[in-house]
Symmetry: C2
Subunit: 264 residues, 2 copies
DNA sequence: GGTTCTCTTTGCGGATCCGCAAAGAGCGGG
DNA sequence: CCCGCTCTTTGCGGATCCGCAAAGAGAACC
């Protein structure tokens, strides 16, 4: 918090053992550990320290020196980037199996965003030296981390393309569909975004204003495409939203007018 | 040059030695090989095959299955992504030391963009299996690859923020400054973008139209901030452009009206 | 239960920037 | 040397979407 830019090796290598060492069973189902044998998993986990965060809390802050790497076990975070002028963006949504802080550690630059918990969350924290050492000792781990980064790059480039070529309504459609894929839960009327999400959040993800997002969602609600609510959203007709995202003008489209939902 | 693309693994593991095995001296100055000893460098290079591409040529194409990974030794590429509707974006600029195709290989998905050479270029190509094997065998190499990916993520997120929060003129300013940093060459009147760059290219990088870019550059040229030309651009007053990028309105700004160029 | 706060909705004017159109300018090829 | 190509410039109308403003709705707190 108040600490100056201090690089990752300032802390003594042999620090006191963490309160409780996390159990392998907590992570073995994550794709990050797929390729690793039990011994490697245990070796990596031995260095990790569990940490719990409530909504609104952040494990690290934009501008901080990169000293820790986090793995999300449960819960969800939104990574918010703030410019010097005060403008904000949500660069990505972080869920179970995703890492936080590794990009800054690898770049050896200050963290470029603040991941804010939107749900009660459980994470594992590594000292960044330990994290790098784990990757050097277990190449399979390094490759798994890279896979996650590759997915992150693809998503960023996809959003970049959307931002450059699509109108606001299409971008919002893409955003909510992506949210449904990443954090959706099947409910009676459709797919629910499974964490508190404000219109403002969607605006920060799409480069639109709060007002435009509200107007768009209202219109969709009148057409029966979504169910809105305070920090709450249910997609009733994802396939129609997909058509809107794909470029169909949002005119007089209704649930019935486009292909029905066969498989997901 | 005219050789066909072969799938990843189609070729026998112990294939005949390439026409000429690339020399370690060609890559040892690249950051990608910084942490590796000579033996490791040689081991990785042994599997690589050099390839030359002229302007307009592409080592791989969007939609192709990921079978090869390329390292740029010299020259430059622009990565172009095309949507099904025909809209285009330039997702990134690739120069010496950068990789191409690795993201798709790691994701095990088709390539999401086509890197088009804008200069006579020399690259090294790995069979993707060999590339993965090299990373597993040399963790330092894997980490170096990751550093490049981390930089790529940061740049993408930066552009995402710009696209979401800035006006066109600011985005163009940011884009040309980034170009100058990545591919700039000091000349008498300022910094020259050292490869053929059309207004259309800048438009595809900023999410603007060709016309708006042309208008903006014309205005800057009248103010003496840049020297334009066919596929050609020289930044005469990068510090003023930096002010514009930072949010200063592009009104009656001249070279003299803002801080002078002390250091770079 | 009332108050306060955040979040959401909706209206309206206007700046930005696209989209179409057409004419100039540099460059290579026949 | 002229032709044809691509790239660039410039004008103009109009749609999109922001920015300001203000009221309504839901949840939390005392």
């Amino acid at each position: 918090m108040g600490q100056q830019l201090a690089f990752c090796g300032d802390r003594p290598k042999s620090r006191p053992a963490p309160a409780r060492s996390p159990d392998v069973s907590a992570v073995r189902h994550l794709r990050l550990f797929d390729d690793l044998d039990l011994e490697a998993q245990a070796d990596i986990l031995r260095l990790a320290r569990p940490q719990r965060l409530g909504p609104g809390e952040a494990p690290l802050r934009q501008g901080d020196a990169p000293d820790l790497v986090f793995l999300v076990l449960s819960g969800r975070f939104k990574a918010v980037q703030v410019t010097s002028e005060g403008a904000q963006v949500v660069t990505r949504l972080v869920g179970p199996g995703d890492l936080m802080g590794h990009v800054a550690v690898l770049n050896d630059k200050p963290h470029s965003a603040t991941p804010i918990a939107v749900l009660e969350s459980l994470v594992l924290a590594w000292n960044c030296d330990d994290f790098m050492e784990a990757m050097r000792r277990h190449p399979g781990f390094a490759v798994a981390v890279m896979r996650g980064m590759a997915a992150s790059i693809q998503e960023a480039h996809t959003r970049l393309r959307e931002a450059a070529t699509e109108r606001v309504e299409q971008r919002i459609a893409h955003a909510v569909l992506r949210l449904a894929r990443q954090a959706g839960r099947r409910v009676a009327n459709g797919v629910e975004i499974a964490f508190p999400l404000t219109r403002q959040d969607i605006a920060l993800m799409t480069g639109a204003t709060l007002h435009t997002v509200s107007r768009t969602l209202s219109a969709w609600e009148h057409q029966g495409l979504v169910d809105g609510g305070r920090q709450h959203l249910v997609l009733r007709a994802p396939w129609v939203l997909a058509r809107i995202a794909g470029g169909a003008a949002g005119g007089e489209e209704t649930i019935a007018s486009a292909g029905r939902p066969s498989g997901e």
